[in-house]
Structure formats: structure tokens, C-alpha cells
Assembly symmetry: C2
Homo-oligomer: 396 residues x 2
Amino acid sequence: MKKIFSVSALLLMCVVTFAQQALWGGAPVVSPEIHPDNTVTFRLKAPKATQVQVTGDFLPTQKIQTPFGEFDGPGVADLVQKDGVWEFTTPQPLEPELYSYTFLVDDLKINDPANVYMIRDVASVTNVFLIGGGRADLYKVNKVPHGTVSKVWYNSPSLGMDRRLTVYTPAGYESGTERYPVFYLLHGMGGDENAWSELGRTAQILDNLIAQGKARPMIVVMTNGNADLEAAPGESSLGFAAPSMQLPRTMEGSFETAFPEVVSFIDTNYRTLANKQNRAIAGLSMGGYHSMHISKEYPDIFHYIGLFSAAIMPDKNAKSPVYDNIEGKLKIQFDTPPALYWIAIGTTDFLYQANVEYRNMLDEKGYPYEYYESGEGHIWKNWRIYLTEFAPKLFQ
Amino acid sequence: MKKIFSVSALLLMCVVTFAQQALWGGAPVVSPEIHPDNTVTFRLKAPKATQVQVTGDFLPTQKIQTPFGEFDGPGVADLVQKDGVWEFTTPQPLEPELYSYTFLVDDLKINDPANVYMIRDVASVTNVFLIGGGRADLYKVNKVPHGTVSKVWYNSPSLGMDRRLTVYTPAGYESGTERYPVFYLLHGMGGDENAWSELGRTAQILDNLIAQGKARPMIVVMTNGNADLEAAPGESSLGFAAPSMQLPRTMEGSFETAFPEVVSFIDTNYRTLANKQNRAIAGLSMGGYHSMHISKEYPDIFHYIGLFSAAIMPDKNAKSPVYDNIEGKLKIQFDTPPALYWIAIGTTDFLYQANVEYRNMLDEKGYPYEYYESGEGHIWKNWRIYLTEFAPKLFQ
């Protein structure tokens, strides 16, 4: 009997070897290394490379010339080689934020092999790191009670398929009997039901705001706004097909029309406070456009509306009853004003002017709204900020 | 009013440009391309590289010499350059399977920039692709009813922290009132509560087996077997620290002792059939070791036990009552024989001999078990196969 449970030295060594194999691919350098003063060092072991650069949103932007004009693009910094290891340290400490970056090795864009943390945004995968402090502490997993994040499928009769949702239920949901308000949170073009939970850090933000008493415990429902798709890339019957930003049926009324099916599914299957006073809807870019239209199409469903960098710019070729008589429907919506109509945008956003015009129209009509203006443009950094600003205003 | 909702050509062009920026990083080649005959072409645009190779489990293994002996390692194939694009096509069609691969560019291991689908295994991130057909169709998201996959936190008083679980509930769980049996599924060394759902394709396998009537609808609970950790890398208060295989408190009794806390949480918060007849436990490698010990420590809790490539090789320095009187506890367990005691291993697994010895002991004692032997070794391909074989045997 003893022999059976004894450990031979060989077996232990095999485990070590196996471990090394499983770890093979991990680079023998630390990268990124966040120093105590919040400067950051990036490293890549690549003895045969002739040029290594790092690009990411932690660097000052640089102007990019395109046929359509000049745009802000991510900065690029050179790494310097010593003994086969390339290195770059930021000259200044970085502000608290969730940053993303990739390397350029002889012009080939690669992820950092020393950093397993990556986020996909449409068809790009970038490494991420977090500088804590200030608002960025809301993006961390802290030692607070954690809600549940579920990938749930609902049936959409009008879109003709089962479709996937990400649902956040607050800490205590499983063990309690309480009913909760519901916040519907919509992604932008090219995004999907994973975007807000991954790029947007929704669960971390809600966990932290709720633990601090700054937001009410609520259910957050993150939909897939691409009416032709069942689910995010890799999560549907399309298999591991390449993700695309040019999807059909995104801003042509189908998703907006079908939205009550989501609300009905959630109210049927979760302990919700199933009334207008306890429902919010917000979205970024295309999701802001969706939120504007859904909330005006169904003025009795949502009492809190958030337009984050909203794409107030429909495709003129899109024919849908959703886009008919917008003025009349907005009037009905604002006849019983929403508890909150919140508009946020960054000063360099390419949608800034469209939002100015939309706000001018609301002002003209005397429709009340709150406005939040941030720096920078059409980026996830802003959408995380807007979520931290918007969620505390809900259901109070 | 009309002006406000009109789309300027500029704005549309901005969106196109933005799309291009978001897609920047996606390589201008298709890779991998799966041809109709199941040969596969890999491509990488890297005009300045002098050598590009691909390595992965789709290639025949090659012998690796180590100080501890000769082992099977992944094969390597050379890509050939034309006009800056490197290319390799498998000489033979590939068998149905979920495969993983990475590129080696001048010895630097990188992920395929044209393929956003990656899986992390401990500290390695590899790209994946799937060749359908046969058993591999169980690994696909098919058009069948889908269960829910949730990331749920439970409190462990004995481990002194909140800890994260992955919980699969079968299709219909949310809308129904039925109670379900529960299958606890444990990962190996270096793994975590994400391993079985990501590398193991648990939700897809269960969705498909249940839809085909081959497995009973059941709840599957995937724990984190590292007693010192709250959650998977990046999902705990440790932040984006590098994952490690050398973790403390993995095979020294703490996790095994604390396991009833998980069962109690699940029975309290889910609609379970809360009795021995409706509980299964299985695990791979270290998780097989955990399953062996947990099931013998708590013989009244589990009726179905699966040891997948089990690491029957405790650390002799580990002092825990869990490892005392193993023989006597196994006798108690087998006095009321489990409905199923299932042992599976691959013929080239470094744990093969340890499993032979364990089976010999069971034979000697007359303890009944079922045995499943596969080809190859200590790899996820085998653990997915074992799951597809084991799940249909449960709760029948």
C-alpha cells in the first residue's frame, strides 16, 4: 500500500518538466513592470530583431494623416536593446488608468509574450495593465463583495434565434429574495455582449460603487446589438470566424424594435423591479444611438437614459418605422420627462458636433437633460469614466 | 429638426476611419485558413523576418531531450516567404479536434495576429482553431439550447476569503422549477476556475450532450483548487500579476478539507438534488488527486467519481489529516461502492505507471471501478475526451 502512494523522484521531476513545458512561451523577462512611482518598463527578449517599438494609449497621441483628414493616433516609443532584451521605461509616471499596448517588432505587431492579460476590441487584441489610484481603483478587483457575471441565452422570436447576454447580478442576489432595478448597457459598432464586461470593467465598477454605497445594487444587462448575430465572435454557431466591424443589421431598426423581448426575458427570469422607475438604458456610440431610439420607441419602459459618445447619425438608407416621426416620439417621451436623460462626450470625439446639435434641439424644445463633457475622444477610457459617473445617478 | 438627424458624409467617413483604427493590428492575411479537405494554411505577414515557424499540437510530436529524460514535445514546421507573407499548409488533412498553435519569428514566440482566438494555459497563451466532425462537434457552439455559464463568488470561512467559481446551469434552468444533479469538475496544477470552461469546452460539451439526450441536464461547478487564491489570474485582488504554476497550498489538504463549503454554497443557492445519488466529482491531474481524496474524505457526499490522468503522487512533506489512514478511508468509501469510480489516462502520460499501481491496489482490494485508456499523454485533448465519455455515465 505504501508503495502505491509513494512519490518517486522521477515523477516529481516530470511534474517540474511538465510545468516548464506549460510555461514555455512565457518570456524570461518581466513586462510590463510597474515601478513604485508609476513609471512603467516594457521589455521584450528578441535578440534577432533589428527594431522594437511599443505603441499604446499610455503614450501621448500623435497626428495621423488620412484621406479624410488628420486624426489622433496612438504614440510609438522605441525600445533599446541590451544583451538581446529590448527595454523602454516611460519618462514620466503614468496617471491611474487601465492602459493597453502592443509591441512592433520589425513592423510586425505582436502581443507582449510576458503578459497574458489581453483584451479583444473587435479584431484587435492588445495587452493591458492597470495603474491604480483615484478612479482607476474602481476598475480593480478589490476585496469587496462580488456580484455574479453570467452568460445567458434568451430566445428572440423577432430576430429568429437564441441570443447571448451578459448579466451582472449584484452580490447577495443568489442568496436573497430582494428585487432589483435593471440597467441595460449597450455596446458600440463592432462590439458585442462581452465588450462592457471586458473592456468596460462593468462588474468591477459596479462591485466597487455598490460596496462604497455610491450606487444602488442593480442588475446590469449587456446585450448583443448586432441583430444578425447570436453572440460574440467565437461564442456562436459561426465558430472561430474572424470578427468584423462591417456587420449587417446594426443601425436599421431591428435591434431597437426587438428590445422589449430582452426586457421581458429579464423580468421573467430574474428578481427585478419590473417598472419604468426601475429601468435604465445607456450605450456607447452605436449603443447610445440604440438607447436614444429604444427609449423613445418605448417611453413607458425606461426612466433613466444615458447617451455615451452617442452616434446620433443614422444611415439614411435604413428604412424602419423606428426612424419615422422622431420629433413626435421624443415629444411623447419628454411629456413625462425621464428621471434622467444623460449625455456625455469627449471634446475631441468625432461625434462631438453631432451631439452639440442634438443638445441644441433638446434645449430648443425645453427637454431636460444632464450633460457631462470629458477630455479626449471616442475611447474606452471615456466610456469607463461615463459608467462610473452614470451608475450612481440611477434609481436614487 | 431634419438637420440634426442628417448624416454628413464626413461623419460616415470618420466612422470608417475609426473602424480601420479599431481593426488596426488585424493582419491583412487570412490565418489559419481551414480548407474544405481539412488541410490548414497558416500565414503571417512579416517582410523583415528571416525565419518563421509554426508550432502546435496539430503537428506530429518530436522528442525533446531534458536532464530528466526524453519527452514528447510539440512539432515545428517552417513557413515559406513570398512577397513578405510567410505560409505553411499541412501536408495532410487534420483530424477533427480543437488545436492550438503559435508562431516563432526569428525564435520569438508570438501569437497569430490574424487570429483573435486564444486560450491561456497557466502562463502560455496560444491561438486555437477547430476542425469539426466526429467528437470535435461536441466542442462547437451548435444551434442547440444553451446553458448559462456564471462566474460566482462564495465565501470560504476555512480558507478565509471570498472565492470564485464557474457554474454551468443547463438550458431551461432560469425559467424552470426543476432540481438538478451536480457535477463538481476540478482543474490541474497551474489551472483555475476558468480552465475547464475555456480549455475544456465544458459548456459546449454539456450543451451538446444534453441536446442529444446523451447526458442528463446537470449543474457543473468548476472550482479554483489553489487554496491560497481567490480566483483566476487577473480576476482576483492580486490584479494583473503573472500567473504561476508554483503555487502554495495546492496538494496539502486545505482544498480537500474545505470542499464541503462549496457543496453547501451550491446546495443553498441553486436548485440542486442535494444528496449523494445526485453528486459527482472529477478532476484532471491535480484535480484527479483532489477528487480521489475529497471523495474518500466525504464518502457520503459523492456517488460518481472520475480520475482523469490523476496525479496519484502526494507531496510527502504535506502534513494533513487528509492523507492519514488512506487505506482505511478507501475501505469505508468502497463499503458502499460508488455508483461509478472511473479512471482514465493516456498511454504516454508520465502518470501512467502511478495509475497502474493505483488500479492494482483497487483490484487487490476488490474495489470496483471502470477504466478508460486513451492514446497520448497529459494534454487537454485527452481531458476533453474524458469529459465527453464521463458525463453521459452520470446520474443515469
